[in-house]
């Protein structure tokens, strides 16, 4: 079932896209009609005009999803399931052509030869004027000057049409002919061509790790694929062409000889270590430039004219061969198209970093699958599931070992015959360390639960400690003045600035993150409880005094309920901030949690996973907020009505 859905995601997407388009058009229709009906009832600026409007909400959501489908190439895949495969074949031809086009001003501004001549000439000139004369004998200086002059001569010889190698000329002619042949072959009839069996068995576009199937699955693709092999041959031949005429050969041999002689310093010079270094570096620099041009890959500007024409012909022919595919590419493949690199074809641009909606759901299903053995979960942890939690672990978490150390008596020692009998302290220590069997309870488990757990525990401690302190700060001069500087000193520091320190102290396990989040929650809870407490109307306090309430009773029955709206708003804010901080903290360190997944996904550029984690975080954040809004409406219906 799951595999079937996975394999047919393109067709499913098509159904969804059609549905979305229908909803989009329908909602606009309803919206325009409603706008016409209501326009007369309300003046501009009347807040009533913002009420309702579910049709515009539908319109917005469907538009957003349609844009997502479009830019992620989800629409392209749904409507033209084989287009990417064909574009991959086109990309193969282009890749095969690239050694030839790289030498020509195709896709770049200058001939490769022009670039080489200009750059090397400039560097040689620069070296010639900066010769460190003090480290060379006069003879050596003369030799160097000669070498530099010969390098410049060589550049001139290689650039001269009259002095260039006739063999190169004929080789280019052969390349040109082959390319024209390729151009012709691209126009061949492909309707009869059949894809290989192997090609048809490839996983479909986007259903496996390999994004786009490599082998051609259409007749057009088969043709392009076979042409690719021809082009590769031509390119190989092209790369072998060298421009080494007899004059060039002579110059190369002479210069090589001079540079070889210069390698060892003249013993007359008696150079120190630094001087020798300068000298060798200079000779090496000259040698490096020479080596760049001595292979004869510089040709006269006109040498490749014929090849250039033929290349243009090939690309024109390729465009014709693409035919309707060009239209599909420009309309449905926004971004940088399909690119073939060494072993695979990949989507570039938005098709790459914006995963298709259906793929996101597929990735989420894999992640949500609790069966780790069949590839579910992530890095050995489920997304959200349950497990048996030993009660002893909980006891160990709550009971510090040091508590046992403080008890009277000492730990047991081994007996005379090497046996060990644990005394009461040893047994208690086993409790504190979780080394006992107390049975197990079912407990939630997984990355989402780990993240939730950290936030909830930190919030719990934050509320338990922060609210009482905040309330006392709201009513007592001592508490306010004593604690205010402490809290105001650490609170303005962005929580993430604390993270490296706290994670170093507490380690990368839960304690560090919980403590970090506790700091965040604590400050917010203190401040909100304090604001709530100090905002109690004086008349209410006085009324309760006159009704005979004691200070403690006033705190419990008047000030606390009065601060409840602020406290709950504080909790709402604190959960939001904790959630944001947690994800970032999990990215810094840890082995579980939503932030951890995203961080690993980032390092391997798994865009689908990154988006899935973003969506999970967004949905959980929304869930927190909805729960808090519901709680606020339930717990304090009197809010703002005092």
């Amino acid at each position: 079932m799951f595999d079937w859905i996975s394999d047919n995601r393109a067709s499913i997407a098509l159904v969804i896209i059609i549905g979305l388009a229908v909803v989009f058009v329908f909602s606009i229709f309803v919206g325009v009609k409603q706008t016409g009906l209501r326009a007369k009832d309300e003046v501009f600026g009347d807040p009533e005009r913002t009420k309702g409007g579910w049709y515009w909400a539908l319109c917005g959501v469907s538009a957003l999803l349609l844009v997502w489908f479009y830019y992620s190439w989800g629409a392209a895949r749904a409507v033209f399931p084989t287009a990417a495969n064909e574009l991959c074949q086109v990309a193969k031809v282009e890749e095969a052509m690239s050694p030839i086009s790289a030498a020509l001003p195709v896709g770049s501004r200058y001939l490769k030869s022009t670039t080489l001549v200009v750059r090397n000439a400039a560097q040689v000139d620069k070296l010639a004027v900066s010769m460190p004369a003090e480290v060379f004998t006069l003879r050596e200086q003369a030799k160097l000057t000669l070498a530099v002059a010969q390098i410049k001569d060589l550049l001139a010889v290689l650039s001269s049409p009259a002095l260039s190698d006739p063999a190169a000329k004929s080789a280019f002619l052969a390349v040109e002919v082959s390319l024209r042949d390729v151009a012709k072959r691209l126009q061949a009839d492909y309707r009869e061509l059949q894809p290989q069996k192997e090609a048809l068995q490839q996983p479909k576009w986007g259903t496996s790790e390999v994004e786009i199937p490599l082998l051609p699955v259409t007749g057009k693709g088969v043709l392009l694929d076979s042409v690719t092999q021809d082009v590769q041959e031509v390119a190989k031949a092209f790369l072998k062409v060298r421009n080494i005429s007899p004059q060039a050969k002579q110059l190369i041999a002479d210069t090589k000889e001079i540079l070889k002689e210069l390698k060892t310093p003249d013993p007359l010079m008696q150079l120190d270590e630094a001087g020798e270094g300068t000298r060798n570096a200079y000779v090496k620099a000259v040698d490096r430039i020479f080596k760049r041009i001595d292979d004869g890959t510089i040709f006269p500007a006109q040498a490749m004219d014929g090849v250039h024409f033929a290349v243009n012909e090939v690309f024109a022919s390729l465009a014709v061969a693409k035919g309707g595919l060009s239209v599909v590419e420009s309309l449905f493949f926004p971004g940088h198209g399909v690119v073939k690199s060494r072993t695979q074809c990949t989507e570039q641009g938005s098709g790459r970093w914006l995963p298709k909606p259906t793929d996101v759901i597929a990735t989420f299903s894999t992640l949500a699958n609790p069966d780790l053995e069949s590839g579910g979960g992530y890095k050995g942890t489920t997304l959200l599931w349950w497990k048996w939690l030993p009660i002893a672990d909980v006891v160990a978490f709550l009971m510090p070992d040091g508590l046992v150390d403080m008890l009277p008596g000492s730990y047991g020692t081994h007996g005379d015959s090497g046996e060990f009998k644990p005394n009461y302290k040893d047994r208690l220590l086993a409790f504190a360390q979780g080394d006992v069997n107390l049975g197990s309870v079912p407990m939630l488990d997984g990355h989402i639960w780990d993240s939730l757990f950290r936030v909830l525990v930190a919030m719990g401690f934050g509320i338990l400690v922060g609210v009482p302190l905040g309330i006392y700060m709201g009513v007592s001069r001592f508490f306010k003045s004593f604690f205010d500087p402490l809290i105001e000193l650490y609170r303005p520091v962005p929580p993430l600035a604390w993270a490296p320190l706290i994670l170093t102290i507490f380690g990368i396990q839960d304690d560090g993150k919980i403590f970090l989040l506790f700091m965040v929650a604590f400050a917010i809870m203190v401040i909100s409880a304090r604001t709530g407490a100090s905002g109690t109307q004086l008349s209410k306090i006085r009324a309760s005094h006159s009704l005979g309430a004691t200070n403690g009773q006033i705190l419990r029955h008047v000030i606390l309920p009065n601060a409840m709206p602020e406290i709950l708003t504080g909790i709402r804010i604190a959960i939001g901030v904790c959630w944001g901080t947690l994800v970032a903290a999990e990215m810094l360190a840890g082995t579980t949690g939503i932030g951890f997944i995203e961080n690993v996904a980032r390092t391997v550029s798994d865009y689908e996973l990154i988006w899935v984690t973003i969506l999970i975080m967004g949905l959980l954040g929304l869930l927190f907020d909805l729960v808090m809004r519901w709680a606020i409406a339930k717990i304090i219906p009197w809010r703002g009505k005092g």
């Binding site: 008349s539 009324a543 309760s544 005094h545 009704l547 309920p561 009065n562």
Partner: protein, 265 residues
């Protein structure tokens, strides 16, 4: 006998920063017998509320004696109930929980207090509203809750700080009748602070007109209108010749004081 005894009462507010001193009240001296109803009138800034807060025990006088039933007033207590201008109700509680607040603080259980609460809710005209949240009540009803909350505690003295100040004219008149009715029924000693001359005349068996700078009792009246109000409609009383004469006299008095303040600035 729980009379209110007040002798040589002075209150000076000192600004701790600038050291400047303001004499809010000077040499206030009066006695209030049990069961009397007193209204206090005066221009703003004459120390009416300060006087009330001192009697309630919220602030301590700089000098002088203040005692209720022979006991010095040191701190707020349940024997001196207070009604504020704006109910000062606990909006997170229902009407009944507001009313029984004092009883609960004393440790009385809900069962025991229920009868008392219902009695007082009936008395102030709020039968059947026990489970309503207070924020759903109108201003007049909220003041009724505040009265019930105060009375359920059975205080010796009831202090009212402009209790009807925020109400509309009609509701106000009804509430004035209610206060007189409660006074008659319970025989409590009541002090009402008000801005309204008519209200002061209608409710006060005794009436103090206070003057500012320093705050002092400028003139005292003994009036028959409160007794009359128990039998006749308040509107009729307002038509009385004597009523309008005193009203004009007091209005002129306060008008002159306000003029003096404005002129002094």
């Amino acid at each position: 006998m729980s009379d209110l005894y007040c002798k040589d009462l002075c209150m000076t507010f000192a600004d701790p920063m600038s050291g400047s001193k303001v004499e809010a009240l000077k040499d206030i001296q009066f006695n209030l017998k049990e069961g009397e109803i007193l209204t206090v009138l005066g221009p703003s800034g004459c120390g009416k509320t300060t006087l009330l807060n001192m009697i309630a025990g919220f602030i301590t006088p700089t000098s002088g004696t203040l005692s209720l039933g022979g006991v010095d007033i040191q701190a707020p207590g349940a024997e001196r109930g207070m009604v504020f201008q704006q109910g000062a109700l606990f909006e997170w509680l229902t009407v009944a929980r507001n009313v029984d607040f004092g009883l609960r603080m004393k440790g009385m259980g809900e069962e025991e207090s229920r009868e008392l609460v219902n009695f007082w809710l009936d008395t102030v005209g709020l039968q059947g509203f026990g489970e309503t949240p207070t924020y759903q009540l109108s201003g007049g009803m909220q003041q009724r809750v505040a009265l019930a909350r105060c009375l359920v505690n059975d205080p010796d003295l009831i202090l009212m700080d402009e209790p009807l100040g925020a109400l509309d004219a009609l509701t106000r008149e009804k509430m004035q009748s209610l206060i007189l009715e409660l006074w008659k029924k319970t025989g409590k000693t009541i002090i009402v602070i008000t801005h309204s001359v008519e209200e002061a005349l209608l409710l006060g068996e005794r009436l103090f007109v206070m003057a500012p700078r320093p705050g002092r009792i400028h003139r005292e009246y003994n009036l028959p209108f409160a007794e009359m109000g128990l039998k006749r409609s308040l509107r009729e009383i307002k038509q009385e010749k004597k009523f309008s004469t005193i009203r004009e006299e007091i209005l002129t008095m306060i008008w002159d004081m306000e003029e003096e303040i404005m002129g002094g600035v």
